[in-house]
C-alpha cells in the first residue's frame, strides 16, 4: 500500500471447505489491505481461493477466523441489516459471468441496486434523478442505444459493461471484480480493462480485481498473489 488510508483490511483470514469427510483449507492466514482509491490485482492459480477471498471481502461469504475491517470497523460486529446496506452502498460487484437478471432490460438491471438502496417513498421521489444518473452512466459506457434490450440480446462485452454500470450506480467505495475479462475475447477484455482503468482514475474508487491474466493484472497499482492460502506481494506501481 502506498501511503493512502486503508479502506478494506483483511487480517489472518482462514477458510476451510468441507465436502463429505474431505476438508480443503483454501485460506490459511491470508492478509490483504486495500487503500482508498487503490487498484489492487489479486492473482493466483485456479482454485487458489482468489474468488473466496473476494467474496469474504465483499461480505458475501464468512470466514472461519480472522477479521475484515471496512473503514476501520469490524464488519463481523455489524448487524445483519447494516451489512446488507454496506454491501449495497459501498461495494460494487462485477462477475466473470456478468450475472444480469434476464427478465430486466439494460436500464432496469442498472437501476436495481439503486432501487434496493432506496426506501419505497424515496424510490418514488427520487426515481427520476436516479434514472438520469443511470442514463448518463450507460451513455458513458457506450450503451445509450441498448437501454431497452434484455441481456440475452447483448454481446459478452456489452453485458459486462452493463454489469459494471450496475456495480457503479450507487457510487460504491470499492469495486470488487472477479475475473471480469475471463469470459471475453482479448480485444473486448482490453476494452473492459481500459474502461475500468478510466473509471478508476475518474471516480477514484478502490478496485480489488481477481485475475489470473498477467496482462490484466499489470493494469493495477499493485499486484498480489494468493498461494498456499496466503497473500504475497508481487509488485507495486512504483516497482513497475
Amino acid at each position: 500500500m502506498t501511503g493512502r488510508g486503508v479502506l478494506l483490511e483483511l487480517t489472518d483470514i482462514r477458510k476451510t471447505f468441507r465436502t463429505g469427510p474431505a476438508e480443503i483449507q483454501v485460506l490459511c492466514g491470508a492478509n490483504l489491505q486495500v487503500g482508498r482509491g487503490e487498484f489492487v490485482a489479486l492473482t493466483g492459480s485456479s482454485g487458489s481461493g482468489k474468488s473466496t477471498l473476494l467474496h469474504i471481502a465483499g461480505m458475501l461469504e464468512t470466514c472461519d477466523s480472522g477479521s475484515v475491517l471496512f473503514g476501520g470497523e469490524k464488519v463481523s460486529e455489524f448487524s445483519r441489516s447494516r451489512r446488507h446496506n454496506l454491501r449495497n452502498r459501498s461495494f460494487g460487484f462485477v462477475f466473470q459471468l456478468y450475472h444480469l437478471l434476464p427478465e430486466l432490460n439494460v436500464l432496469e438491471n442498472v437501476l436495481l441496486p439503486a432501487m434496493v438502496a432506496a426506501p419505497w417513498y424515496d424510490a418514488l421521489l427520487r426515481a427520476r434523478p436516479r434514472k438520469k444518473e443511470a442514463l448518463e452512466l450507460l451513455e458513458e459506457l457506450g450503451l445509450a442505444g441498448r437501454l431497452s434490450h434484455r441481456p440475452a440480446e447483448l454481446s459478452g462485452g456489452e453485458r459486462q459493461r452493463v454489469a459494471i454500470a450496475r456495480a457503479l450506480i450507487n457510487k460504491p467505495a470499492v469495486l470488487l471484480a472477479d475475473e471480469p475479462t475471463g469470459n471475453l475475447d482479448p480485444r473486448t477484455g482490453q476494452v473492459i480493462m481500459d474502461l475500468l482503468a478510466r473509471l478508476h482514475t475518474q471516480l477514484n474508487q478502490s478496485i480489488l480485481l481477481v485475475t489470473h491474466d498477467a496482462v490484466v493484472a499489470n493494469r493495477a497499482d499493485r499486484i498480489v498473489r494468493l498461494a498456499d492460502g496466503r497473500v504475497e506481494p508481487v509488485s507495486t506501481a512504483e516497482s513497475k
Binding site: H84, R87, N88, E103, L112, M115, V116
Partner: protein, 568 residues
C-alpha cells in the same frame, strides 16, 4: 419497492405463471358458481315454502285438529303484529277422475279462498285465475279468487305491451326452420340441431299463440275509468274477449251451493295431468280443466281411528304451481267448509247434549313487516302467548299438540338439510381447491430453482433474506390475486348468464342438458350471488396462493449467495 418491481417483472415475463393463475381462476370461478346456485336453490325453496304457508303457523300434529279456531283467530287478528289469518284443514284421501279412469292417493287441503289469498301467495300460484287473466275474467263470472279491476287492467297493460313487442318481432322475422349451421358437421350434431330447430319453432309458436290471446284480450279493454268494480269489468270485458268460451252456466262455479257438481277443486300442477317441455313450460290440455272428479276423504276420529270415507263430486277448475314439488305432486285444494264436513270436523251436537266445536288443522298467519325475521319471531312469540292463554281459558277445547312455528321453523328440517348440503359441497370443492396450493407450491419451487442465480445476484447487490423472501411471497400474492380477480368476474358473469349458457350454448351446440326442466321444480336454474360467501372464497384463494408460495420463499431467503451465484 424493488420487491414489487421484480414481482411484476416476473409476473409479466415468465410464461409458467399462467398455470397457477389459471388454477386459481378456475377454482374461484367454480366455487362461486356452485355456491351461488346452491344459495339460489335454498332461497327459492325457502321463498316458495313461505308463500305456501304465510309467516306464522299454528298447527296441530294430531290429524283430528283443534277446535274453537274462529275464536282463536279473532284473538290473534286482534294482535297489532298480525295482518291476516286463515284456517286450513289437511286430510288424506283419494282423487278419482272417472272420465280418465285415473285413481290416486292425495293430500286434501281445505282452504278458504278469500282469507287464504290474504295470507299466502296461493292465488299467485294459480294458472287460470292469475297467470291467464283473460280466463280469470271468465272465471270471475263463475266464481273463484277475487281479482280487482285495477289489478286486471295493470296486468293487461303489461301483457299488451309484451304482446305488441312479440307481434312486431314476428312481422319483421319470418318464422322458418333455421338452416343447419356449418359447425354441425357430424351426424349426431345434425340430428341434435334438427331437434333444436323443431323445439325452437314450437316454442315460437307457443309464445306467439299466447301473445295473440293476450293481445286480443288487451285490445278489447275499454278505458280503466269505466270500471268501478270487478263485476263492472267482467260485464265490460267478457263479450269482447273472442277467446272466451263460457263454461256451461254456473256449473263450474267454485264453492257454489246451487251448482252441480257443487264445488271446484284445484289440483297441484305436478300431479301428472300436464306435460312439461324442455323450457319448463307446462302444456295444459283443455280437457283437464272442467273435468269432473270424485274426491274421497278418509276422516279420522278424535281417538285416532278411521271412520267411514266420504266422497263427493267436484270439478277441476284450476291448477296450482307453488314450486314445492312435494306439494304440487300430491295436493288437491277444495273449499274449506266442504272438506271440514267430509272430514267430520264441523260443529257436532252430541247425544249427551254437549257440543263438539268445529275444528281445523292449521291457522296460517301473515304478520306486518314480514320481511324482517326479528319481527316475525316477535309476532310468533306474541301469538304463542295468546294461544297459551286461550288454551287456559278454554279447557274444553279440543287442542292436541298445538304448536306455534314460524315459516322458517316449519320447513327447518328440509331447508337446513339443503343448507348443510350447500356448505358440504362448497367445503368439498374447497378441499379440492387445495390442489391450487399444491400447484402454486410446485411451480414456485420450480421458479425458485430456476431463479437461484437471480437470488444470488439480488443478495450480492444488497438484498436481504427478508427482501428475497418477500419477493416470492408477494409474487404468490400477485399470482393468486391475478387468478382470483378474473375468477370472481367470470364466476359472477357465469351465474348471471347461467341459463343462457346452459340453453343457448351447452344444449344448443353440444346437446348437453344439465338442468332438465322436465324434472326440476324451477323452470330456470336458481342462482343468487352471496357477496359474503364470494368475499370469503376470494380471500381464501389469496391465502392459498400465499401458503403455496411460503415454503419456496423461505428456501429462497435462506439461499447462500455464493452458492446461488455458482448455480448452473
Amino acid at each position: 419497492m424493488y420487491k414489487l418491481f421484480l414481482c411484476f417483472r416476473y409476473l409479466t415475463r415468465k410464461g409458467i405463471v399462467a398455470f397457477p393463475i389459471l388454477a386459481v381462476w378456475l377454482c374461484v370461478m367454480m366455487l362461486i358458481i356452485v355456491n351461488s346456485i346452491m344459495t339460489g336453490f335454498v332461497n327459492r325453496v325457502r321463498d316458495a315454502g313461505r308463500g305456501l304457508m304465510g309467516d306464522v303457523v299454528i298447527e296441530s300434529s294430531d290429524m283430528a285438529g283443534f277446535g274453537h279456531y274462529r275464536k282463536l283467530q279473532s284473538a290473534i287478528n286482534a294482535l297489532p303484529q298480525v295482518a291476516a289469518s286463515t284456517p286450513v284443514i289437511t286430510v288424506y284421501g283419494l282423487l278419482n277422475l272417472p272420465e280418465w279412469g285415473d285413481n290416486r292417493p292425495v293430500q286434501i287441503v281445505g282452504i278458504d279462498s278469500v282469507s287464504k289469498a290474504d295470507v299466502t301467495d296461493f292465488r299467485q300460484s294459480l294458472f287460470w285465475q292469475y297467470k291467464a287473466p283473460h280466463q280469470a275474467v271468465a272465471d270471475l263470472g263463475g266464481g273463484g279468487f277475487p281479482v280487482s279491476g285495477r289489478q286486471l287492467v295493470a296486468r293487461a297493460k303489461v301483457l299488451y305491451n309484451k304482446a305488441l313487442a312479440v307481434e312486431n318481432r314476428r312481422q319483421k322475422r319470418l318464422l322458418a326452420m333455421p338452416p343447419i349451421p356449418p359447425h354441425a358437421w357430424f351426424y349426431g350434431m345434425r340430428e341434435h340441431w334438427r331437434q333444436i330447430a323443431h323445439e325452437d319453432f314450437e316454442q315460437s309458436v307457443y309464445r306467439l299463440d299466447r301473445a295473440d290471446r293476450d293481445l286480443q284480450f288487451a285490445r278489447g279493454l275499454p278505458p280503466p275509468a269505466v270500471y268501478k268494480s270487478a263485476a263492472a269489468l267482467v260485464a265490460a270485458l267478457v263479450p269482447r274477449d273472442p277467446s272466451f268460451k263460457p263454461p256451461p252456466a254456473a256449473a263450474y262455479r267454485y264453492d257454489n251451493p246451487k251448482a252441480e257438481p257443487k264445488n271446484g277443486i284445484i289440483v297441484g300442477v305436478d300431479m301428472g295431468f300436464y306435460t312439461r317441455d324442455r323450457f319448463g313450460h307446462y302444456h295444459r290440455p283443455q280437457v283437464v280443466r272442467f273435468s269432473p272428479a270424485i274426491l274421497t276423504v278418509v276422516p279420522v276420529t278424535l281417538k285416532g281411528t278411521l271412520t267411514t270415507p266420504q266422497s263427493g263430486r267436484f270439478m277441476i277448475v284450476d291448477d296450482s304451481h307453488t314450486k314445492v314439488f312435494t306439494v304440487d305432486r300430491r295436493t288437491v285444494y277444495a273449499p274449506f267448509k266442504v272438506v271440514q264436513k267430509m272430514a267430520f270436523m264441523q260443529r257436532q251436537d252430541l247425544l249427551d247434549g254437549g257440543v263438539r266445536p268445529a275444528r281445523c288443522s292449521q291457522i296460517q298467519i301473515r304478520v306486518h313487516d314480514d320481511g324482517n325475521p326479528a319481527a316475525v319471531l316477535a309476532a310468533r312469540q306474541a301469538i304463542e302467548t295468546v294461544v297459551d292463554k286461550f288454551e287456559r281459558n278454554h279447557p274444553q277445547m279440543i287442542m292436541a299438540n298445538v304448536k306455534v312455528k314460524t315459516w322458517d321453523q316449519m320447513q327447518a328440517e328440509f331447508i337446513h338439510a339443503v343448507d348443510k348440503e350447500r356448505d358440504l359441497i362448497t367445503f368439498l370443492l374447497g378441499l379440492m381447491s387445495l390442489v391450487v396450493v399444491v400447484v402454486i407450491f410446485l411451480i414456485f419451487f420450480m421458479i425458485v430453482r430456476d431463479k437461484t442465480r437471480d437470488i444470488g445476484i439480488i443478495k450480492a447487490i444488497g438484498g436481504s433474506e427478508f427482501g428475497v423472501g418477500s419477493i416470492f411471497v408477494l409474487y404468490g400474492l400477485l399470482i393468486s390475486a391475478a387468478g382470483a380477480l378474473p375468477g370472481l368476474i367470470g364466476g359472477v358473469l357465469f351465474v348471471r348468464y347461467d341459463n343462457q349458457i346452459h340453453d343457448d350454448f351447452l344444449w344448443r351446440y353440444f346437446g348437453i342438458s344439465i338442468w332438465n326442466r322436465k324434472i326440476y321444480v324451477f323452470s330456470r336454474i336458481p342462482d343468487q350471488v352471496d357477496s359474503h360467501a364470494v368475499a370469503i372464497i376470494v380471500l381464501l384463494a389469496i391465502v392459498a396462493g400465499l401458503v403455496g408460495a411460503l415454503i419456496p420463499a423461505m428456501i429462497a431467503a435462506r439461499q447462500d449467495p455464493v452458492e446461488a451465484l455458482r448455480y448452473e
